[in-house]
C-alpha cells in the first residue's frame, strides 16, 4: 500500500468524523500552541536583551523616580514614574559632581495629541536635551536634533520619529512644517533615523522637543521622568551608580537608602528583570504545553482505539483481501499522525498569533523561528506515533475472521 493511498484513507477516516477529530486535536492544538508561544517569547526576549546591550553599550544607567523596590520594570520607558522627585538640578548636580560619568540626558516624557493640518496622532512627546542622541545611541536622520540654544530659549521646535512622519505627512517633506502639539505650534527641524520596534516600544513613534519646552510650554511640569546616564566605561558602572545614589540621597535629604525616592538601574538590570518575567512565563507555558500534549496524546490514543473498534469489520475485510499486518499498522499510524500533525499545524498558527498578540499588547518581544516550527512538528509527529502505535498494533494483530464476525 503506497503512502499517498494510506494518506487518502486516513484523511477520509478523519473527515468522516469531523467534530470528533477536531475535539481530539484540541489538546495537541493547545500543547503545540503553547510550545510555539513559549519558544517565540523566549527567543524574542533573549534576542532583545542582547541587541539592546549591543546597541546601547553596557555603560548606561537610568534613574527614575520611585522607590528602589517598586514597580517591575519600565525604566526604559521613562515615563513610568509618578513621583516628582527628580528635577533638572539633580541632573546638573550629577553631571558636575561625578567624575565617572560621561554624559547626562535629563528627560521628560508624556503622551499628547499631535496635529498637522487634518492629520492627527497620539504619540509620546519626549522632552530631551542635546545629549539624548549619544546616551541613547539614537541619532538624527535628516535635519538637526535639539541643541543647547533650543533648550535655553525654550524654542518650539520638534524632531520627529519616522512613524510620526508617515502618520502626519505621508510621503511629503516634514522638515520646515509646523505641527501642533496640544494646540501649541512647533516647527519641525529634523527627522530621526529609523530604529524600529525595541521590545517595549516603537522608538520611531516619538517626538522630541526641547526639555524646557516640554516642561514649561506643554505639560507645566518641573520634574523629570528619567535621567539617562552614560558612564565613562563599563568598569566604573558600579562606582558611578554608588556615587549617584549618595549624591541624590544627600540632595533629597534622605538618610536611609531603603527610603530613596528614586531608582538607579543599569540596562543589564532592566533586562534581567525582564528575562525573569519571561522566564516565569516560559515555565508556565512549558507546563501548559507538557500537560496538554500528554492529555492530547491520550485523547488521540483514545479516539484511535474507538476508531479501531468501530472499524473492526473493515480491518477484517482489508485483511481478507490481502492487507498485511504492516499495511493495517501503517493505515492507523498515519491516521493518528495526521490527526496530531493537523492539530500541530493549527497549534502552530495559534501559538504564532498568540505570541504576536502578546507582543502587541504587552510590548513583549517575540520571534517565530524556524526552530519553533520544526519543534512543533516534531512534537506533533512524535505524539501521533507514540500514542498511535498501540491502537494501530491492536488493529494489525486482529484475526481476519474474528474481525469480520465482530458486531
Amino acid at each position: 500500500m503506497n503512502l499517498l493511498e494510506s494518506l487518502r484513507t486516513a484523511y477520509r477516516g478523519l473527515i468522516a468524523n469531523k467534530l470528533r477529530s477536531t475535539l481530539t486535536m484540541l489538546g495537541i492544538i493547545i500543547g503545540v500552541g503553547a510550545v510555539v508561544a513559549m519558544i517565540s517569547i523566549g527567543t524574542g526576549a533573549s534576542d532583545f536583551a542582547t541587541s539592546r546591550i549591543k546597541e546601547l553599550g553596557s555603560n548606561i544607567l537610568f534613574i527614575s523616580p520611585g522607590s528602589p523596590g517598586g514597580q517591575g520594570f519600565g525604566g526604559a520607558r521613562g515615563a513610568e514614574g509618578t513621583q516628582e522627585s527628580l528635577d533638572q538640578k539633580d541632573a546638573e548636580a550629577i553631571k558636575d559632581g561625578i567624575s565617572t560619568i560621561k554624559k547626562v540626558s535629563p528627560e521628560y516624557t508624556s503622551g499628547a495629541q499631535v496635529i498637522y493640518k487634518k492629520q492627527n496622532t497620539n504619540t509620546s512627546i519626549v522632552g530631551a536635551t542635546s545629549t539624548y542622541e549619544d546616551v541613547h545611541n539614537f541619532h538624527i536622520g535628516s535635519g538637526s536634533f535639539i541643541d543647547e540654544s533650543d533648550q535655553k530659549t525654550t524654542k518650539r521646535v520638534a524632531v520627529l520619529g519616522t512613524n510620526v512622519v508617515t502618520d502626519l505627512f505621508g510621503k511629503s517633506n516634514a522638515i520646515g512644517q509646523t505641527i501642533k502639539i496640544k494646540s501649541i505650534p512647533f516647527k519641525v527641524i529634523g527627522v530621526m533615523e529609523e530604529k524600529g520596534q525595541s521590545g517595549f516600544q516603537n522608538l520611531d513613534n516619538q517626538i522630541f522637543i526641547p526639555l524646557s519646552a516640554a516642561q514649561k510650554r506643554l505639560f507645566g511640569a518641573k520634574h523629570l521622568s528619567t535621567i539617562s546616564i552614560q558612564a565613562k566605561n563599563e568598569e566604573v558602572m558600579d562606582q558611578a551608580s554608588e556615587d549617584i545614589e549618595a549624591l541624590l540621597l544627600e540632595r533629597h535629604e534622605i538618610e536611609n537608602a531603603d527610603e530613596a525616592d528614586f531608582r538607579i538601574r543599569s540596562q543589564a538590570e532592566i533586562l534581567d528583570t525582564m528575562s525573569q518575567v519571561t522566564g516565569t512565563l516560559t515555565i508556565l507555558l512549558g507546563g501548559i504545553a507538557a500537560i496538554s500534549l500528554i492529555v492530547g496524546g491520550i485523547g488521540i490514543m483514545n479516539i484511535m482505539l474507538v476508531s479501531v473498534t468501530e472499524r473492526t469489520r473493515e480491518i477484517g475485510l482489508r485483511k481478507a483481501v490481502g492487507a498485511k499486518k504492516r499495511d493495517i499498522l501503517a493505515q492507523f499510524l498515519i491516521e493518528s499522525v495526521l490527526l496530531s500533525l493537523l492539530g500541530g499545524a493549527i497549534g502552530l498558527g495559534l501559538g504564532w498569533g498568540g505570541s504576536v498578540l502578546i507582543s502587541r499588547i504587552g510590548g513583549w518581544p517575540s520571534i517565530i523561528s524556524l526552530n519553533s516550527v520544526l519543534l512543533a512538528f516534531f512534537f506533533a509527529v512524535a505524539i501521533g506515533v507514540f500514542f498511535g502505535v498501540w491502537p494501530a498494533r491492536r488493529a494489525s494483530n486482529l484475526n481476519p475472521i474474528e474481525a469480520l464476525r465482530f458486531e
Binding site: M1, E5, R12, A16, R318, A320, V321, A323, K324, I401
Partner: protein
C-alpha cells in the same frame, strides 16, 4: 489409505489436471474447556483446478469454518492443508496475506463492502495491497463491474445499491486480481431466488473461464449448478458426490 486410492480414482474420472486444494484431517477447535467447540473434526478433501464445488450441510456443521481454512483466513488446529502445493502451516503472515490477495477471491454472505465508498473503489481495494503499481487499475475495475452488469453504478455507495448489486460488487472485488480460486460463503443467502440465479450465472461463467469455484449453499437448486457436491455434518464429510460416482462405478 483406502480413501487416498478412491481419490485417485476420482482424479481419472474428472480428468482434471492439477490438484489445487489438498486438505487432510483438518480439525478446528474453538475455545477451551467448557466452551470448547469442535467445528471440524477431521475433514479431508482434494479439489482440482477448474472444479465447481458446492458445500452443503445443516447449520453449524462447519461449512463456514472449512471455507475460512481453505481461504487462508484462519489456521486449522491440526491437519494439513496444501494450496497449490505449498503447506499453509509453513507460511508466515505476509505470505498468507499475499495468497489471499492474489490466489483467492472470497465472497461473503454479508457482502462486506466498505461503507461510504464507491463501487469502483470497493472493487479496487485488493489492488491497494498488491504491492506493485497498477496503471490500469481503474480501467480493470470498470471492466469487471461492467462484466457483472454494473456499468451504471461505478460511483454508487453500497447503501445506494440493492442486495444483488452489492453482491455483484463483492464478486467483482473477488475477481479483480484474477485469482485462480473463488470461495463464496452463501453468496445468495441474502438474495431472492431470481437475483440468486443471476449471481450464480456469473459463477458459472467464471468456472467456464477455468476458475475453481467453491460455494456454500443451503439450497438444492443452487447446488445443482455445481458439478460436485460435498455434504458436511457435525464437522465431518458426510458425502462427496465425486466419491459417490466412484462408488457407483465400483459397484457396476
Amino acid at each position: 489409505m483406502v480413501e487416498a486410492e478412491a481419490e485417485e480414482g476420482a482424479d481419472h474420472l474428472a480428468r482434471h489436471t492439477n490438484t489445487v486444494i489438498e486438505a487432510k484431517d483438518l480439525v478446528k477447535t474453538y475455545g477451551t474447556g467448557d466452551t470448547k467447540v469442535d467445528a471440524l473434526k477431521g475433514v479431508s478433501l482434494n479439489i482440482k483446478e477448474g472444479e465447481f464445488v458446492a458445500i452443503m450441510g445443516p447449520s453449524g456443521s462447519g461449512k463456514s469454518t472449512l471455507m475460512h481454512l481453505l481461504g487462508c483466513l484462519d489456521q486449522s488446529t491440526s491437519g494439513t492443508y496444501k494450496l497449490d502445493g505449498s503447506t499453509i502451516k509453513d507460511l508466515n503472515d505476509n505470505d498468507l496475506a499475499r495468497i489471499r490477495n492474489e490466489k483467492i477471491g472470497f465472497i461473503f454472505q454479508q457482502f462486506n463492502l466498505l461503507p461510504r465508498t464507491s463501487s469502483l473503489e470497493n472493487v479496487m481495494l485488493p489492488f491497494t495491497y498488491t504491492g506493485h503499481a497498477n496503471k490500469n487499475a481503474r480501467k480493470q475495475a470498470e471492466e469487471t463491474l461492467r462484466s457483472v452488469g454494473l456499468g451504471k453504478h461505478f460511483y454508487k455507495r453500497p447503501s445506494e445499491l440493492s442486495g444483488g448489486e452489492q453482491q455483484r460488487v463483492a464478486i467483482s472485488r473477488a475477481m479483480i486480481n484474477n485469482p485462480s480460486i473463488i470461495l463464496a460463503d452463501e453468496p445468495t443467502g441474502a438474495l431472492d431466488t431470481k437475483t440468486g440465479i443471476e449471481v450464480l450465472n456469473i459463477f458459472q461463467k467464471l468456472n467456464k473461464e477455468g476458475k475453481t469455484i467453491i460455494l456454500i449453499t443451503h439450497e438444492r437448486d443452487i447446488a445443482a449448478f455445481a458439478k460436485r457436491r460435498i455434504h458436511l455434518r457435525d464437522g465431518l464429510v458426510e458425502s462427496d458426490s465425486a466419491k459417490k460416482k466412484k462408488e457407483i462405478i465400483e459397484s457396476t
